[in-house]
């Protein structure tokens, strides 16, 4: 299983990495063996194995539903590039593309 140039470009785009055209071939070469390795692992028979989401055999610790965090906006915003009226400012988001949690 080998990646195409378009695959590499798409992966870079999804990760918001800028990838110079001349490096595409290099990444195709470097990423493809990783996929080969995954393909090799996929051949192992895991039908009798419980899916493992974490190597630690522990369950998630829970915390009580209490507000413990004070307002530290001033400290957080002191290191932000740009703030106004208590908001973090970012390059403009395209109108009508508001984010809705999927």
């Amino acid at each position: 299983m080998s990646l195409t140039a378009d695959d590499v470009k798409k992966i870079a785009h999804l990760a918001r990495l800028s990838l110079p055209e001349e490096e595409v071939a290099l990444y195709m070469q470097q990423l493809s063996p990783i996929l080969h390795f995954v393909k090799q692992m996929n051949q192992a028979d895991t039908s009798q194995v419980e899916p493992l989401s974490n190597p630690l055999d522990l369950s998630q610790p829970l915390r009580p539903d209490k507000v413990t965090e004070p307002n530290q906006r001033t400290a957080f915003q002191a290191i932000a590039p740009q703030v106004e009226a208590g908001l973090y400012l970012v390059p403009q988001v395209m109108e009508g593309e508001d984010n809705y949690v999927e």
Binding site: L14, P64, D65, V67, Q72, L87, Y88, L89, E95, N99
Partner: protein
């Protein structure tokens, strides 16, 4: 061609916790921007999310409320995408192993029958922040107070066949989550948000058509309008030779239309993987049983009980159990009324609900308390007042002019049941209208109403109507 509508709904229920799903920051609504966003919500390096115990309990409650399977082990995953109001670059959600699997919700259809809507799953996840598009010198403003607020996303199977069914399902779910106490249900503040997947297919066809996903439909009215518009749009498109495109569409309530927001094909590549910061959530049978034993009476059970215990019809029962507070009000009023169930139901769903609607108030804000409304019904039932006078007293109660008995006393509204007094009044009316009496006796039966009207007018509506009728009939023979 006859078309069938196919709808599946995804509802984001904001869980009514004090703190966020993975941090100890407050979830209170309406705070100054970014004052409730801590290092974990902001995705600072080196922070560790720790799951809020209450969200697990709430998810289990929902699961039990819809007769679903509660997963003994569920897994949090990272859903990767870039957007300025998602500071980490991923949303923590549940993907392959959600906490709640299966289940169903029954809805009542207009013809009185019941339809079962299957639920696919419900999973826990965190909310994103908010982008403000007012122009900040060509920049966007980001408020991350909402980031990390706990959500339970409830996904239905595509079992819904009309906009009306969709609304019925949503109203039932809305009622259920409030009964369970896991969500405040405030749709304006975004505590209960809905997306609809809508497609059409020729009637009788077993394949699903291409669906569009509708967003921004956060009121029951918008859901109905948006789906109706979208169904008409898809039918017109297909009938004119076009094809429905899989995409996300935004409902514009001002224009009453949906419009394309983004194409789905590219946006769907979220590269989920298990979140290494979080361990599997394990739930024991004992934990589930403990929660089950403390579940309140749920809307469907209450509906059943109201019909059996109070002899109500399905309509009255449906209205009364729509909120737990309204149902409690009714039950308190019934006791005060001396068990006048039907009459109390009429007053709660009629006069009282109309007044609440008029002033846009919730039942919990009613100036007329349940025991007084019950007392009012009791006074009608024991013939102290007439039904007509009761409406006047209700207005006085609403304006907080005292208790029912005070108002009757002070305003002299007691019904006249003294037969001698009624007889005197009847004699007076008949003597004053000799022509009408003659006409009635010669066969103009309709004039009976005229005499009743005169007597009621003369007495200010205070005569017992039954006694008046009997006496009038006797005297007019």
């Amino acid at each position: 061609m006859e078309w069938e509508t196919v709808i599946g709904l995804e509802v984001h229920v904001q869980l009514a916790t004090q703190s966020k799903i993975f941090s100890g920051a407050s979830t209170a609504f309406g705070a100054e921007p970014n004052t409730q966003a801590c290092a974990i919500d902001l995705g600072f390096p080196g922070v560790l999310p720790v799951l809020n115990a209450e969200v697990v309990t709430m998810a289990i409650k929902l699961g039990l409320g819809i007769q679903a399977e509660i997963a003994k082990q569920s897994v949090f995953a990272r859903k990767n995408y870039f957007y300025p109001d998602l500071p980490k670059g991923y949303q923590i959600s549940q993907h392959t192993i959600p906490i709640v699997k299966g289940g169903h919700l029954d809805i009542s259809l207009e013809d009185g029958s019941t339809k079962r809507i299957r639920i696919t799953r419900a999973h826990l996840e965190e909310d994103a922040g908010k982008s403000l598009h007012e122009d900040f010198h060509g920049m966007s403003g980001i408020d991350l107070n909402r980031a990390g607020t706990p959500l339970l996303e409830i996904v239905s199977e595509p079992d819904i066949r009309s906009a009306k069914e969709a609304v019925a399902y949503l109203k039932n779910l809305h009622s259920l989550v409030r009964y369970l106490g896991i969500c405040d249900g405030n749709m304006q503040e975004g505590s209960f948000r809905c997306d609809a997947n809508v497609s059409i297919r020729p009637q009788g066809d077993l394949h699903f058509g291409t669906r569009t996903e509708l967003k921004n439909i956060n009121s029951f009215r918008y859901v109905e309008r948006a789906i109706q518009y979208e169904v008409e749009r898809q039918i017109a498109l297909v009938e004119s030779g076009g094809k429905v495109k899989q995409e996300t569409r935004l409902f514009d309530p001002a224009k009453n239309e949906t419009r394309a927001m983004r194409s789905k094909e590219e946006a769907d590549d979220y590269r989920y993987f298990p979140d290494p910061d979080l361990l599997p959530v394990r739930i024991t049978e004992k934990q589930i049983e403990e929660i089950r034993q403390h579940l309140p009476e749920l809307p469907q059970q209450k509906h059943q009980r109201f019909m059996e215990q109070y002899g109500l019809n399905t309509y009255d029962a449906t209205v009364l159990v729509s909120s737990g507070a309204l149902a409690d009000y009714f039950e308190a009023a019934v006791i005060a009324s001396g068990n006048q169930t039907k009459l109390t139901a009429n007053w709660v769903t009629g006069e009282l609900s109309a007044a609440l609607n008029k002033f846009d108030m919730e039942i919990t804000q009613s100036p007329v308390i349940a025991t007084e409304l019950g007392k009012l019904v009791l006074r009608i039932a024991d013939n102290t007042i007439s039904g007509k006078i009761a409406k006047t007293i209700f207005e006085s109660l609403w304006n907080q002019q005292g208790t029912v008995d005070d108002i009757i006393e002070k305003q002299g509204l007691k019904q006249v049941t003294d037969s001698a007094a009624i007889e005197a009044l009847v004699d007076k009316i008949l003597a004053a209208n000799p022509d009408q009496v003659a006409d009635y006796r010669s066969g103009k039966d309709k004039l009976f109403g005229f005499f009743v009207g005169q007597a009621m007018k003369e007495s200010g509506g205070k005569i017992n109507p039954q006694q008046l009728n009997e006496l009038l009939k006797k005297k007019l023979q």
